[in-house]
Symmetry: C2
Subunit: 486 residues, 2 copies
Amino acid sequence: MSNKKPRTAITPTRDEDFPEWYQQVIKAADMAENSPVRGCMIIKPYGYAVWENIQKNFDSMIKDMDVDNAYFPLLIPMEFMSREAEHVDGFAKECAVVTHHRLEADENGKLGPAPSAKLEEPYIIRPTSETIIGDSMARWVQSYRDLPLKLNQWCNVMRWELRTRIFLRTSEFLWQEGHNAFEGEQGGVEDHEKMLEAYATLVEDYMAVPVIRGKKTPEETFPGAISTLTIEAMMQDGKALQSATSHYMGENFAKSIGIKYQNREGGESFAHTTSWGLSTRTIGAMIMVHGDDDGMVMPPRVAPYPVGIIPILRDDQDKEALLEYCRDVVAKLKNIGIRAKLDDSDSRTPDKMWGMIKKGVPVRVEIGAREMEEGTLTHVRRDLGRDSKETCSVADFVTKLPSVLDDIHDTLYKRAKDFMDSNMAEVKTLGEMETLYKDGHKGFVKTPISVLKESDLQRVEKDNAITARCMPFSDNGQTVIFGKAY
Amino acid sequence: MSNKKPRTAITPTRDEDFPEWYQQVIKAADMAENSPVRGCMIIKPYGYAVWENIQKNFDSMIKDMDVDNAYFPLLIPMEFMSREAEHVDGFAKECAVVTHHRLEADENGKLGPAPSAKLEEPYIIRPTSETIIGDSMARWVQSYRDLPLKLNQWCNVMRWELRTRIFLRTSEFLWQEGHNAFEGEQGGVEDHEKMLEAYATLVEDYMAVPVIRGKKTPEETFPGAISTLTIEAMMQDGKALQSATSHYMGENFAKSIGIKYQNREGGESFAHTTSWGLSTRTIGAMIMVHGDDDGMVMPPRVAPYPVGIIPILRDDQDKEALLEYCRDVVAKLKNIGIRAKLDDSDSRTPDKMWGMIKKGVPVRVEIGAREMEEGTLTHVRRDLGRDSKETCSVADFVTKLPSVLDDIHDTLYKRAKDFMDSNMAEVKTLGEMETLYKDGHKGFVKTPISVLKESDLQRVEKDNAITARCMPFSDNGQTVIFGKAY
């Protein structure tokens, strides 16, 4: 056995430096980059296409659940924040504050906010739209006939973050935020469960990221909520990433913002509300779950293009004929609803191949003179690498591609699930858990629910930089899962 | 002939007070409303669904043209604005300025920007992303191999407006902005023509709004552009609304922001760029082109739901059976890809009918006990009113509906086109034009191009509150069209 390190496309490798590996994968796959605006990212076309696919799939799910999309203002009046501050301890004060509405040049010609255009009351850029959507709901809901009211918004939000990391924590990010209102407890409780299941479906069935569905412990529950549900995924460094949450607020939010209505008996009731959100953060999770030392590995159902085609050109060859043959393959795949990207640039062939590998294109197709003569093509799976290289007729490829893509999805999911399962320890006591982490355990630890009552819990969490991730549904609330978290 | 005014659902009528009619239609159709944030609107579900349909159709067009979507920061560094200020006279200074990044409570507990969290350099909320996208393009374009680069962004933008009107002019609005770069003049010129044609297709073929395609006069050309193309629509008050524009900047923008590249000869060249945008403003145009004195009239291809179904319930009747019959119609239409909305609320039947009329649902279906027994339904076209009422079998309805919707589209388009044509005057001189407007002409006036050189032009424009809308392509630049404009 050789000790020689195999050549990888990404330096450093995951083992060497996971956080730096993550940044390098994003760069190599050309998904996003830092911007000239502190803490804000630019989502490049290859990264944005993933977000569009996430949006498309989730949007169609929530429309089937009778949720309506709408759009609310970017700015939040200060008065709304004061209201929230009264009710919510954990209220985020780090936010972008708009204080002026005009620029003007000073005596030296330097542009700045015009003193004459100072706003009487500043606005803040929405860190969430909870208050401004709630304010509308309070006006729109007058009678039980107006319920349920289910609203969702796809938008940008802003929270001033000091330490940022692309996709995972940025001052501006994209998300959807849903805010639903119901007549009674049952409607609200069922809704926040249904929404969590929609997230789990999205993340597992489209992004191939296995998650643990569960309920947050009282300490981790969203301020003001009766119950916070979460899906937690395990990254390849063993850390947890909370991929989406769904909250049931009972009547708390409705009472603070005034969502009351005439009930069926003619009296006045407060609505039961839920809120639920998923952001571009999940793209970060997908990278850290599937990426390898050669770059990104895209799950086929959200991949910008599931197939990449590379024409293998030689100097003496009829370039146009080969490209025509390749374009015909693109067209045949388009007919069955699968997007293929032809790299007809004049880069070198090895650069094109490594480009596709680093971008994690699920299936790479290579077509040279021999393939063209024979009516075939050669294809390689990103998840299995060069051992999966095969040559077959174009017709056969088109026929089998949908099931190949399904198999790639299943393989990625199973690989990640096996990883999560094998990095999940189970112990009976707080002491055992602490020993595990002190001994270098990377991953989750499951304990009996009784651990939450131990007086030493906070110290153990703090010393080991772990938190209670959730009480998994699968154990009916009898256990808690701990882990380090992003 | 009776002088009695017919009852209308909207007060005032278009003739009585067009601007107020417009606001009342939006309210009656439940499309949008003013928000607690000065000058910003809330786009309600029924209005937002129109925007989603516009987005879906236009997005698929631009993707076919190899445009990539991406996302750039909401905030623009002041330094970028200064750069733009140097180059652009018409640079907009009315914008939202972010000066602080934290809130804190003062001694009285009142929240405000924290003095300790004042930004060294303020940011502004994007009024357009031209500079920040251009800055990226300058980094991304190094070689002719990187061209063409075609980027589009769907986002919110903000311009501090003093006098606002929902959809037409609001401080925050939604739009797409495209920014493309090419190797040479030909690529840029062709691109800005192609993009204008895409807009014309979107607005005419989906929104049923006829437009005049043309080029802006030098005075009306976008600052810094070589050529600005526009599509102009005529509202029912005879005023023009510029529905979308497409600019060719030559090398001007590339020079100011540094988009240069190594050309095919090994030398250095500046890219030729275009930019093109369409906003939620077009929804306002659609309302003012198609709406009538009973409310909105939705063009079927962007209607949130082309069909609305009203169950006509009587007290002694089996409600559930009737609703089941209605749901079956909804399912049958879903099968052919047409969305139908069943109003199963417990509002009164006349309220439901007027609700659908005011919302402008293209085809209203009424189903009562008789229809259910006979396996039929009754349907009415919004564009033709009660005279178009017909009863037919459900199967026949499903079969003919697609062509009925096409016919509604064609009818709306033709009606608007006839209106525009009949309100287009043609004169030879500036004097004749002025007389027309002084005599109360509402509509456009076409003149020979030579009028642009007359010294009295500016005075005539100012006195009559008109502007040169465009030099229509159809006259090969030999004429100019004038009009009052939104």
